[in-house]
């Protein structure tokens, strides 16, 4: 099950906790992986760890031209892009009344607009191949909202609406587009929280613990697999039950 031998996958945010695990999971299933991110060192370390079938493709997702060029670079390096995982994300939290235009715009740009650009960039190859998998990483807060994260929640909800619309358009071409919405996962992003904040959050999680990056990667692997060919336009919530949607 879940054999990706011969497939190529581009993963953004591969230098982060969740992205790195996604790359490992897809690579472990046989895929050739393109590791993208802003920080080159962790990408190269990950590529070295994976060995063969791993390419480093640095990209700053707030740079529109670089984002547009990324799918082409990935296709040149790997021969094609069969699977796209839009995982990269940033937060710039602030109370709504204090949120600046810049905080709003930068989060929307990286978390939503870059996802749009990358989806657009890989579609031509997928349409020709009559096969493709796009998995966009959303967030539980895109569905529930979260104080201090008006920008992030809006962008993550936007990604879900975008995924569904695109899923409609390309379903007849063998391309599926889905979202994975993680809850609270042990990553650098949630490490910033204080112990009090963490225990507060955990009271809302029926599973009583934070999730691991590997648990997100497993959901992504499923949606990227040939077995998930009849699953499109859906959002897979991986959140320990904190929001049963």
């Amino acid at each position: 099950m879940f054999d990706l031998t011969g497939k190529t996958a581009l993963i953004t945010g591969a230098s982060g906790g969740i992205g790195g695990e996604i790359a490992k999971a897809l690579h472990g299933a046989g895929a050739t992986v393109g590791l993208s991110g802003t920080r080159v060192e962790p990408l190269e370390a990950l590529a070295a760890e994976l060995g063969e079938r791993a390419h480093v493709l640095p990209c700053n997702l707030s740079d529109a031209e670089a984002v547009t060029a990324l799918p082409k670079q990935a296709a040149e390096a790997m021969g094609s892009v069969d699977i796209l995982i839009n995982n990269a994300g940033i937060t710039r939290d602030n109370l709504f009344m204090r949120m600046s235009e810049e905080e709003w715009a930068s989060v929307v740009e990286v978390n939503m607009t870059a996802t749009f650009r990358l989806c657009k960039g890989v579609l031509r190859g997928m349409m020709k191949a009559r096969w493709g998998r796009i998995v966009n990483i959303s967030s539980v807060v895109g569905a529930t909202g979260n104080p201090g994260q008006g920008n992030y929640a809006a962008a993550k909800a936007g990604v879900i609406g975008m995924s569904k619309s695109l899923a409609y358009e390309v379903a007849t071409r063998g391309i599926t587009v889905n979202a994975v919405a993680p809850g609270f996962i042990e990553t650098a992003m949630t490490e910033k929280l204080t112990d009090d904040q963490k225990s507060g959050i955990l009271t809302q999680v029926p599973a009583g613990r934070m999730g691991t990056p590997g648990e997100i990667a497993a959901a992504v692997l499923y949606l990227a697999s040939p077995e998930a060919s009849y699953v499109t336009g859906t959002t897979l919530h991986v959140n320990g039950g904190m929001a049963m949607l």
Partner: protein, 77 residues
């Protein structure tokens, strides 16, 4: 019929699975040949590859019929 028209017709016939006789000068891809909007995008992609040209999005929108396609490609190549 010109060489370009022949090549365009071949792509249209193959891609939309229609009879060659139906692909007339005035035949609209969507109204007469059963294409959906995504088919028209794919046809443009196929034309670009066959003729080694770039068809920008605003130009692609003006290519509605077989005749439009032949005319555009003849001028572009």
């Amino acid at each position: 019929m010109s060489d370009i028209a022949d090549r365009v017709k071949k792509i249209v016939v193959e891609h939309l699975s229609v009879d060659e006789e139906k692909v007339t000068e005035a035949a609209s891809f969507i109204d007469d040949l059963g294409a959906d909007s995504l088919d028209t995008v794919e046809l443009v992609m196929a034309f670009e590859e066959e003729f080694g040209i770039e068809i920008p999005d605003d130009a692609a929108e003006t290519i509605q019929t077989f005749g439009d396609a032949v005319k555009f490609i003849t001028e572009a190549s």
